[in-house]
């Protein structure tokens, strides 16, 4: 029967295309039971909430609790972002997702000369504990789960320090806080760059300080949220996204073990952040493959005893790099398909991009429309009626296995180089990214990759959407910093910064020191400058 169909297909197939997934995997015109002969249900799929977690990390998945609707927000001075947080929560968001401006992320105060032009852009400006208090004014951080998109470890060690200092001042036990901080050393040294990067090994060490601290003192907090989303945004493939992400996760586990921690004490809180990109089925298969690979690594390689250590939880952002400035309303459609893939792939927490993502920070209308997209997905489509509805699909299971093979091969290559920190130090990752980005650009320009509205179905007259205007931030933050410096105890600040310097030099965990420096109102710029003086700065000179 199959042969008959193949013959008919061959005769009638006028277009004669060959089909590939986004990452280049050849896709057949039809999948049948013979394609999943090697799939063993118990070993390769299992049940939701049980190793290898392919069908989902929890037994009940969205029946127990829907994915968290966590829309990103961040711009201007802290009180402006506080308003957007409250707006989103009022409209039905179920978690906070905060982004910080470029100066804050890289550890500069707003008044630093190189920071001035970027103050309040791309995120909220935070200088000190006082700003953190303004940012979360009137928000019950003991009841809502808060994700802090701290990107680089140099910013994270201060931002998380301020967040925990704020919690302690509110009389909260850090172990009661639910939330996440990104804290990804690749964001510091490879994916995004500035004037001064910490050396990769120093950034990695800072990142691990936060993981270690939280394993002991903030047990519900996810101290790392490996930003494989950003790796993917550079034009790397789904295979590279997962492989680099999980290689990074492995390096964290190895370091924590080296520091003497028991794997089950920290592994359950390692979290991943993935993209939801354009190739619908590849994305779904990608998430399933990632869960399977991680489950087996944790059990077999790191001898985790508890199942929760083997469970890969992840949040998703729909892929910003697939969105266009041309005919921006089309981005609502793109993001909706991508969000659907994330949900069918078993995501824990989701941000859908605003339709103006390729142009500016999201306007209120764009942010609301994206949130509504999530609510429509949950309440109208019935895709959550059953868990892992695509389980058993000849195509999806076959693609999951294929991706698993390719991801593992890429991970082995990174291991062969000496691991992820080495891969960054040597410039290998920068080259890989540059090459992929260049090839992608050429493929779009040649029309090989179709982008609706850009290289096909373009219009002559574009209708410009409302543009978000970054609110005036510099003058507000400048006055605040002046006042802060007059009112705080300079002696306490000097002591706190000196303690940080000594701890950094002596290889101590820096988190208790940055919580302390936050309490005495040291600024993020002051703490980061101290760290740069100890660790030195590094530039990838091979670009």
């Amino acid at each position: 029967m199959l042969k008959e169909w193949e013959k008919e297909y061959s005769q009638l197939n006028k277009l004669k295309h060959s089909y590939k997934s986004n990452s280049g995997i050849k896709i057949k015109p039809l999948y049948t039971p013979s394609d999943t002969n090697e799939v063993e249900y118990d070993n390769d799929l299992g049940f939701p909430g049980k190793p290898p977690f392919v069908r989902g990390v929890y037994p009940t998945m969205y029946h127990g609790r829907p994915w968290t609707m966590r829309q990103l927000a961040g711009f201007g001075p802290p009180e402006e972002t506080n308003k957007r947080y409250k707006f989103l929560l009022k409209e039905g968001a179920t978690g906070i997702n905060g982004v910080f401006d470029y100066p804050t992320l890289r550890g500069y105060d707003s008044t630093d000369p190189i920071a001035r032009a970027d103050v309040g852009r791309g995120g909220v400006a935070i200088e000190s504990l006082e700003d953190m208090n303004r940012l979360f004014d009137g928000i019950p951080i003991d009841e809502i789960s808060v994700s802090l998109v701290t990107c680089q470890p140099i910013g994270n060690i201060s931002i998380l320090g301020m967040y925990f200092a704020m919690a302690e001042k509110r009389g909260l036990d850090l172990n009661a806080l639910a939330g996440t901080s990104q804290n990804d050393f690749l964001m510091e040294t490879a994916i995004s760059l500035g004037f001064e990067e910490l050396p990769p090994s120093a950034a990695f060490r800072l990142s691990c300080d936060a993981i270690e601290f939280c394993a002991k003192c903030a047990k519900r907090w996810n101290p790392i949220n490996i930003d494989a989303y950003a790796y993917r945004e550079t034009r790397l493939s789904a295979i590279q996204e997962v492989a680099i992400g999980l290689s990074h996760a492995m390096a964290c586990v190895e370091e924590m073990k080296r520091r003497g921690l028991d794997v089950d004490d920290f592994a359950p809180r390692i979290s991943l952040f993935f993209s939801a990109h354009s190739d619908f089925f590849e994305e779904i298969a990608k998430y399933r493959a990632a869960r399977k690979i991680w489950s087996k690594i944790m059990r077999e390689r790191f001898q985790a005893r508890e199942e929760r250590s083997c469970r890969l939880r992840f949040n998703v952002q729909t892929a910003g790099s697939t969105l266009t400035a041309q005919q921006p309303l089309n981005n609502i459609t793109r993001s909706a398909y991508q969000a659907l893939a994330a949900v069918l792939g078993g995501v824990q927490s989701l941000h859908i991009n605003g339709y103006d993502e390729a142009i500016c920070s999201p306007t209120e209308q764009a942010a609301l429309t994206a949130l509504r997209s999530q609510q429509i997905l949950l309440h109208e489509t019935n895709v959550v009626n059953t868990i892992d509805p695509l389980g058993g699909s000849y195509f999806v299971e076959s693609l999951t296995l294929e991706l698993e093979k390719k991801i593992k091969a890429y991970m082995e290559m990174i291991e062969g180089m000496g691991g992820i920190v080495k891969a960054v130090e040597t410039g290998w990752l920068h080259s890989e990214i540059s090459d992929c980005a260049f090839k992608y650009q050429k493929a779009v320009e040649s029309g090989e990759i179709k982008v609706v509205g850009l290289n096909c179905f373009a219009v002559d007259e574009e209708v410009q959407p409302e543009i978000f205007v970054d609110p005036e931030t510099f003058s507000i933050q400048e006055k605040r910093l002046e006042k802060l410096r007059k009112e705080r105890d300079e002696g306490e600040v000097r002591t706190a910064l000196n303690d940080i310097k000594m701890a950094a030099e002596n290889g101590e965990n820096l988190m208790p020191y940055t919580i302390n420096s936050a309490k005495v109102k040291a600024t993020i710029g002051e703490v980061s400058k101290t760290l740069r003086e100890v660790f030195g700065v590094w530039s990838p000179s091979f670009i």
Partner: protein, 130 residues
């Protein structure tokens, strides 16, 4: 034989995105131009480097929204070094269409926003030197 067009590519301010700027750098280099990749630079450094390297074109890359604050600054710095008329200043990145007229008034010759075809950039630069 015609002298190669010399281009300085630099990123503006604390904008953390670097990849687009390397794509354009490679494209211009493949097209036969001499490309100096400056990385993240402040306006004063950009102008000084442009003078030292005797460049014909400066390509500024930014995706953070700092284009209005820093683009015109670069032109001012070139002016203070007395080389404003000797160097063409171009800009690329996430720049809303409505911001382009003001940038051009400040002395930026052309802006290549989101979705630009890089061959357009090559043609534009080459056409300036015919």
């Amino acid at each position: 034989m015609a002298r190669k067009i010399r281009v300085l590519i630099s990123r503006l301010g604390l904008d953390a995105h670097w990849i687009g700027s390397t794509v354009i750098a490679k494209t211009l280099s493949n097209a036969g131009m001499e490309v100096i990749y400056g990385g993240s630079m402040i306006p004063e450094e950009i102008a000084r480097t442009a003078q030292q390297e005797n460049v014909d074109v400066i390509g500024l890359s930014t995706l953070s929204g700092n284009h209005q604050a820093l683009g015109p600054e670069v032109v001012k710095e070139l002016e203070s070094l007395g080389i404003k008329d000797d160097v063409l200043v171009l800009m690329g990145g996430t720049i809303p269409v409505r911001d382009v007229p003001v940038l051009k008034e400040s002395g930026i010759l052309e802006v290549f926003g989101t979705g630009t075809n890089t061959t357009e950039v090559v043609s534009f630069i080459e056409s300036q030197f015919k």
